[in-house]
Amino acid sequence: MSEVEAKSVVFRGGGFAPKPQRWVGVMVFVVLIAIAEMGTRAGWISALTLPKPSDVLETMQGLYTSGLLFKHLGPSLSRLAVGAAIGVSIGISVGVLIGLFSYIRSGMVPLIAAIFPIPKIALLPLFVIWFGIGEGSKYALIAFGTFTPTVVATYGAVDNVDRTLIRMGQSFGLSWWSIVRKIVLPGAMPGILSGLRISLAIAIILLVAAEMLGAEYGIGAYILEAGSLYDLERLFAGVVILSLLGVIISAAIGWIERRLLGWRM
């Protein structure tokens, strides 16, 4: 027999499956900050363009040692917590109702579509008139801002609950309330939680807007004050705090997801 040339088959599979790489995310931050630091020190980034990262860090340390950090953080966190709690809980309830009842669905979906694109910041003066210049208007703004994305995520999630599971519940004679509590809500939980990620990020965005009027303390008020004085170090210090807040909330939701949704494939 003649010699046959043996070639290995060319590999053409793989890819299209991103895997988490632990330290890459941190590295991106480190590299960006290092470039900014080098640039501002060497002078090819002017002090007017970007503050020196080390100065921002110093400002943050100052905030911490003077105790001002918690004076600002305290009211902001309570506004965030109360506003988001109101918005999210009403949002989930309305979303579930839209997911379950034809009339509520037909009535509410166009209404939600109408209020979703309103920039909630524009309504701040209205909220001040309705709920007062104090905490009320701030809660209302954050609640309203988190409400709409929560509703949309929730009724989408309820729509996606496996109908065969609901038929199963009916075929075993489960009550309507049992089906909602034991089948619809747990089944909608993945969608509701991913909606929560968006709603809470929006809550942080609106925090700054909420503190535009009638707030002496608060991260938002601090940023706005620094902004109007063009004090870039303080502005950036405030922004970094908001970013950290976002990262912490996102990590918390990730933790809840791992605890609650361990049953997923």
């Binding site: 199963m168 075929s171 075993f172 489960l174 049992s178 034991k182 049953w263």
Partner: protein
């Protein structure tokens, strides 16, 4: 408790699915319904269990369900329909909770049905950890837990591979031999029908009508692969169905 189907016809708009089906489902037997795809056999099963309403005709429950029966008409679904967020025992306790059975009383029933379906070691597993065959065993255990008068099985083995299907058929035969139950078993697999059915109802293609009811007298426990009588019965069923199946296959789907 027997079930009687009395002149059931069904159509979606002016699309006739089923015509004049009358049938008695006797107690303590497994009745198989076979037919080409689209003949409405699964729909018929949904009528029997009250999940859908026929356009005309009635499903009658003859007599009272036996004592202690929690859910007289109980389904076993093709795709198992297990709650993925509940463990095996949690899935069974789901159907007991609404009847106020909790704690020790529930545990006793759960232990019993898990033992009968050989699942005792898997009580704490989540559905995602189980193979298809195991999942269907859990669904059967769940159905047994409510002590049904009639089990309504909608292609229960169709989502499983051939080996698992054999194993589960053996299990069903064992289960029936130890404690005869009434079942309506819908399938498109003729081997399953002659293995498990005391009676096999052959439906025609759409609009579904009863073409023939074939009785198979060999006791379930004595049915083995290669049995001449069963082979003959299966061949007979296939002859009845072949042309229907071919015609049904060639039809355009316009649902």
């Amino acid at each position: 408790m027997d079930i009687r189907l009395d002149g059931i016809s069904h159509s979606y708009d002016d699309f006739e699915v089923m015509r004049d089906i009358s049938l008695d489902i006797p107690k303590g037997q497994i009745l198989c319904i076979v037919g080409p795809s689209g003949c409405g056999k699964s729909t018929l099963l949904r009528f029997i269990g009250g999940l859908e309403r026929p356009t005309s005709g009635r499903v009658l429950q003859m007599g009272e369900p036996p004592e202690g029966c929690l859910n007289p008409l109980t389904y076993v679904f093709q795709d198992f329909a297990l709650l993925p967020w509940r463990t095996v025992s949690g899935n069974i306790s789901l159907v007991l909770e609404d009847h106020g059975i909790k704690g020790a009383a529930a545990q006793e029933i759960i232990d019993d049905v898990l033992a009968r379906t050989k699942l005792t070691d898997f009580a704490k597993a989540l559905p995602k950890q189980l193979s298809g065959g195991m999942k269907q065993r859990v669904a059967i255990a769940r159905a047994l837990a409510v002590k049904p008068a009639v089990m309504l099985m909608d292609e229960p083995l169709s989502a499983l591979d051939a080996q698992t299907r054999e194993l589960l058929m053996d299990d069903l035969v064992d289960l029936w031999t130890r404690q005869p139950f009434t079942a309506v078993y819908v399938t498109h697999n003729l081997a399953e029908a002659v293995r498990l059915g005391h009676k096999v109802v052959v439906l025609s293609r759409r609009p579904g009508r009863i073409r023939e009811v074939v009785n198979i007298d060999t006791p379930l426990a004595e049915r083995e692969t290669g049995d001449a009588d069963l082979e003959t019965a299966q061949k007979h069923l296939w002859l009845l169905m072949r042309d229907e199946a071919r015609a049904a296959d060639a039809e355009l789907i316009n649902v």
